[in-house]
């Protein structure tokens, strides 16, 4: 009887450790919910997420992740045909920049298009400038965008519309990624987190690493 009780407690303990490990490795920065096929394949561990891209900015200039070395990056994957979530996220990006005060100079906000067919540099310029002149809009070829998204472990998938092909939509990760000045990953913020939560958190990261 006693051995059975001990054994069952042991199993409970094992289960707790297993659940803990699962969340430790499955969740980027403690955000997201875990348990879905998409993210499980897209997220192979926080250490693997990094900024690695060669794209064209909204002024038509070819840029790589190295061009932004030395600055913190706030990165969002989206598309200009997106009528709701992307607008909310770019508004949040603008609000975050406002709330960062002088520290905003050390942060580069950017939107990377997941819809290269529609989002030319000119289109990106009109879109990002509508929110904040400091936001850089990046686009490129299918391959270049796929490469960039992979480096961030960001998910996107074009969904065709058979009835009206021009109305296709793109599913995409709704996160804002915070990347350190060396291009390494720090955390992600969900699209539903307000700027009033994100800005102080970014300031904490920047302050902490100043001393390090």
């Amino acid at each position: 009887m006693r051995t059975i009780r001990l054994a069952s407690w042991g199993l409970v303990g094992l289960a707790i450790v297993a659940i803990g490990l699962f969340f430790l490795f499955e969740r980027p920065g403690g955000n997201g919910r875990g348990g879905n096929e998409v993210l499980r394949t897209a997220t192979t561990g926080t250490a693997a997420i990094r900024a690695d891209f060669s794209l064209v900015d909204h002024t038509g200039k070819r840029v790589t992740a190295d061009d932004y070395k030395g600055r913190w990056l706030l990165v969002y994957f989206g598309f200009t045909y997106c009528p709701d979530i992307c607008i909310t996220s770019l508004n949040t990006m603008h609000d975050v920049m406002e709330k960062l005060g002088d520290t905003a100079d050390r942060v580069q906000p950017m939107m990377i298009s997941v819809d290269p067919e529609r989002d030319t540099p000119e289109v990106m310029a009109r879109y990002v400038n509508a929110f904040d002149k400091r936001i850089v809009g990046l686009t490129g070829t299918d391959d270049e965008i796929r490469h960039a998204a992979r480096s961030f472990r960001a998910y996107y998938a074009r969904r065709e519309n058979r009835e009206a092909p021009e109305r296709y939509l793109v599913d995409h990760s709704g996160y804002l990624y915070l990347m350190a000045p060396d291009g390494s990953y720090r955390t992600v913020y969900s699209h539903s987190e307000p700027a009033s939560k994100i800005a102080p958190d970014i300031l904490r990261f920047i302050e902490k690493e100043k001393d390090a």
């Binding site: 919910r33 875990g34 993210l39 009528p83 709701d84 607008i87 998910y155 969904r159 969900s190 307000p194």
Partner: protein, 182 residues
């Protein structure tokens, strides 16, 4: 077998409904000012959309729908002169991936209400002949499962001004960054 309306005829009659609704809206400025319109026991209010950032982009319309009746109802369709096509959509979030999906209806329980808001249910407008401009309004005719129909005036706001509205939505999520509230 009944004779079916041909597509152009259906479009024409839809356009006429909108035209009549616009006349009614114009003739009743008090209703337009208040923003709330009634259809039986349903009250539709605070309809808004963000101004178009550029041409050729879809738009999302948000609103509140209250059902003061004793039976449940559901929003099943919408039409507007501002767009060639209006669909009912919702957002499905799976592990941070946002996916927009068309839904057949948006339920409004008896004595309850539903809010179409950023990040959730919305009326998605496709193929807008002209851009939506901040400060303008346009009519949107909504039809319910019960057959009730009404036309609400949608206020177009600057995309930046919509922040406050989106923040109301964010407020429900604000719990210090933890996401285990559900």
């Amino acid at each position: 077998m009944r004779e079916r309306m041909t597509a152009p005829l259906a479009r024409l009659s839809a356009a006429m409904v909108v035209a009549v609704a616009m006349l009614v809206a114009a003739a009743a400025p008090a209703a337009a000012q208040d923003g709330a319109v009634e259809a039986g026991s349903l009250v539709v209010s605070e309809a808004w959309a963000r101004a178009s950032i550029m041409e050729g982009r879809p738009a999302a319309v948000f609103m509140k729908i209250e059902n003061r009746g004793k039976t449940g109802d559901a929003l099943v369709s919408a039409t507007t002169s501002a767009a060639a096509r209006a669909e009912l959509h919702t957002h499905v979030e799976t592990d941070g991936v946002m996916r927009m999906e068309e839904v057949p209806e948006i339920k409004v329980a008896a004595g309850g209400s539903v809010e179409l808001k950023p990040g959730g249910y919305h009326v998605m407008l496709f193929d807008l002949p002209i851009k939506l401009k901040a400060g303008e309004t346009f009519p949107l005719t909504v039809t319910f499962k019960s057959g009730m129909t009404t036309t609400v005036m949608v206020s177009v706001v600057d995309p930046k001004e919509s922040r406050g509205k989106a923040d109301e939505h964010d407020g429900h999520h604000g719990n210090g960054g933890g996401h285990n509230h559900d």
